[in-house]
């Protein structure tokens, strides 16, 4: 998302940031165009160069104490200059009592002003978390996301190839569905790809021939989860004799979403093939690799060792004249 309306921000964070609106709701229609936060101490003191006015402005103890220390005239002047800028909204921390001009002048400029009991540091943490999440780059993909043994597997492939059926089969075997058919991917600040479903679709799923089913209701809470890190993409493809499929696991293929690279496995399917077991194997194999064990490389090593021993033995026996 590239901006959030102040009203939506208020609705979302009201309870966990414990913010309350200290002036009229006029300012709720403004947009927050930036995910950063700013403490405008210097701007209030009159230094307006490089004033990052387009961020949420947090007034902590220092700013409020400073405003209070000014004469009525100077305070008004300082705030007048401050409100010349198109400020998204203001949050006052520590439930500091505001000078009476502050909410009134914010109102005149159409800026919402909130108050919270949290300290500035606590508020900054909570606020950054929320804003990072909201402003994270996102993308909708046509896929199903299932948590298989704790690994987030993203199933892609042409419509009708059987993504939902595989997801259902996995749920039957005790794995957890995140979302079917529509997955929203977001990239977090530390470059992790997170997938989640939509508010509306929840864990509903379409199974061809049956119709719409509710996995959450059918299999209970153990069968679902709200979001999951996406660790591997499993692309389901129709079996083709001409296509070369991975036989050894030595070459690892990757795919990129929102600038995050994840492993990519192409899985040819045909009727009667037990995809679910293969998919579980993919997940377990990934676990082994995470723990530092690479089966294909390990086997390769064993093979070279055995070849070496044999050559040594052969050359020994060759020269074993009696």
């Amino acid at each position: 998302m590239d901006k959030i309306q102040v009203g939506i921000f208020f609705q979302d964070t009201q309870s966990h940031l414990k913010i309350r609106l200290a002036n009229s709701p006029k300012g709720l229609v403004r947009d927050i165009p930036n995910k950063d936060i700013h403490r405008p101490g210097l701007a209030l003191a009159g230094f307006l160069e490089l004033f990052t006015y387009d961020r949420i402005q947090v007034l902590g103890n220092t700013e409020i104490r400073y405003l209070r220390s000014l004469s009525d005239f100077a305070r008004k002047e300082s705030l007048q200059k401050f409100f010349q800028f198109e400020i998204p909204c203001i949050i006052v921390s520590n439930s500091n009592e505001m000078p009476p001009e502050l909410p009134a002048m914010a109102d005149e400029s159409g800026v919402a002003i909130f108050s919270t009991p949290f300290s500035t540091t606590e508020l900054t943490h909570l606020l950054s978390d929320y804003l990072d999440h909201k402003f994270a780059p996102s993308q909708i993909v046509h896929a199903s996301l299932v948590d298989v043994y704790g690994t987030g597997l993203l199933f892609t492939g042409r419509s009708g190839i059987g993504k939902s059926e595989i997801a259902l089969d996995l749920v039957e075997r005790g794995h957890r569905l995140v979302s079917d058919d529509v997955v929203t991917l977001t990239r977090t600040a530390d470059n992790v790809l997170i997938g989640h479903g939509s508010e509306l679709l929840k864990h509903f799923m379409e199974i061809r021939g049956v119709g719409i089913i509710d996995v959450g209701r059918m299999f209970g809470v153990r069968a679902i989860r709200q979001q999951k890190r996406v660790e591997t993409e499993v692309e389901l493809v129709d079996w083709s004799d001409e296509q070369d499929y991975e036989r050894t696991g030595l070459d690892e293929h990757t795919k990129e979403y929102l600038g995050v690279t994840i492993p990519h496995v192409q899985l040819p399917i045909f009727p009667g093939k037990n995809i679910t077991v293969i998919v579980e194997t993919i997940a377990l194999n990934l676990h082994l690799k995470v723990y530092g064990y690479h089966p294909a490389k390990e086997f390769g090593r064993a093979l070279s060792d055995s070849m070496k021993t044999r050559t040594q033995l052969e050359s020994y026996l060759e020269k074993d004249f009696e």
């Binding site: 909708i140 046509h142 419509s159 009708g160 058919d181 529509v182 509306l200 679709l201 509903f204």
Partner: protein, 88 residues
Amino acid sequence: MITKDVTLINKLGLHIRPAAQFTKIASQYAASVFLSKDGIRINAKSIMGVMMLAANRGAVLKIECDGPDEQELMDKLVELIENKFYED
């Protein structure tokens, strides 16, 4: 690739049955179809995706078709929407 903006004029918008009809047609063609509304863009061959748009009457949808039979598919989809999904 061809694109077209269409306004929904049927009573229920893209509710379950209309969405099913839409995806049914979309799935019969080789061309890919994407639908977008309010910045959300989904694959129109997926019924769940189409319903996720929660597009009601009056909503403007952007249809994108890409592939060998794109024009025929686009015509069919537009015809379906303009005829109010033959329901009401």
